[in-house]
């Protein structure tokens, strides 16, 4: 771990963040681009669910998280508030792990 890593990564991360927001932001974009931009969260957030549920050191792993997230999907589909969905996901995962299921 070096200061070079810390500072270089800081600069790279900020350049990525500022590019989309400031350099492109504010300009009038064609309708087709706006339609596609509006779909970014749907595509990426669903990918983040997959990535953070099944992500592991060797590509994909099925463990207790998958059980917890399945429970979270069930309560979310019943329009439970965000807090309830998160607590359900974490609690069921912890229980599955404690019970030794799919650790």
């Amino acid at each position: 771990m070096t200061w070079t890593l810390v500072l270089a990564l800081s600069a790279i991360a900020y350049v990525f963040k500022v590019t989309g927001l400031v350099i492109v932001g504010g300009r009038q974009l064609p309708a087709v681009v706006n339609r596609c931009l509006g779909l970014i969260p749907a595509a990426l957030v669903s990918a983040l669910i997959v990535n953070s549920t099944l992500g592991g050191d060797d590509g994909m792993v099925f463990d207790a998280r998958a059980i917890g997230v399945a429970a979270a999907i069930l309560v979310a589909a019943r329009r439970a508030p965000l807090v309830v969905v998160i607590v359900t996901g974490a609690a069921i995962t912890a229980l599955a792990r404690a019970a030794g299921i799919a650790v």
């Binding site: 810390v6 991360a13 500022v18 087709v32 595509a43 990918a47 996901g89 609690a91």
Partner: protein, 224 residues
Amino acid sequence: MTDVQPEVSVEDRSLAMSCAVLGAAVGVFGIAFGVGSVAAGGSVAMTCVMSLLVFTGASQFSAVSVIAAGGSTAAALGGASLLAARNAVYGLAMSRTLQGPLLSRLVAAQITIDESTAMSTAQEHPQSARSAFWWTGASVYVFWNLGTLIGALAGNAIDPEQFGLDAAFPAGFVAMVIPHLRHRNGRRAAAIGAVACAVTMPFLPAGVPILCASVGVLVGVKKP
């Protein structure tokens, strides 16, 4: 118009509460990051500066895990940069919501991350979308950095996995994607994004499958 009282609706309060809870959950991971970074040979100062300046959790975890496994600075930087690239896409998605003075957009850029973007784009009204972005971004920033400091100082703390907190992120993302599934194109984009990520995960480096998922937005090319 001075007699008009600013009204905080029940919806606003519950939104602010959700943003705060999300921030607190992230704070626990900040503790884990602080512990891991110190264990990988980082000083308390390096660890805290990384959370203050880099401020994108997945990239930070990735960089520290590569160093901990004996990787070079370049290798650590490569993976972490790929993970950070998606923040450019989030900036694009947020650019319509966050218009204003350059200075406020330069500040907004620093907190343009998974949580603030997802929380903001889940709102129906533009004003709520702006509030959700700033509240979530600020709350995550405070808790992430506080958590990092506590973790770095403690050196060893709680095991987030024991409390199932590693499932808190995907569970939160599940709640956030629901509003996007109301329209047919949203459902298609979400399905394509999830499949693209799952299919590429086994063989692409961490972070890249998230970028691959952006092919899902192409369902918007055709007029509805």
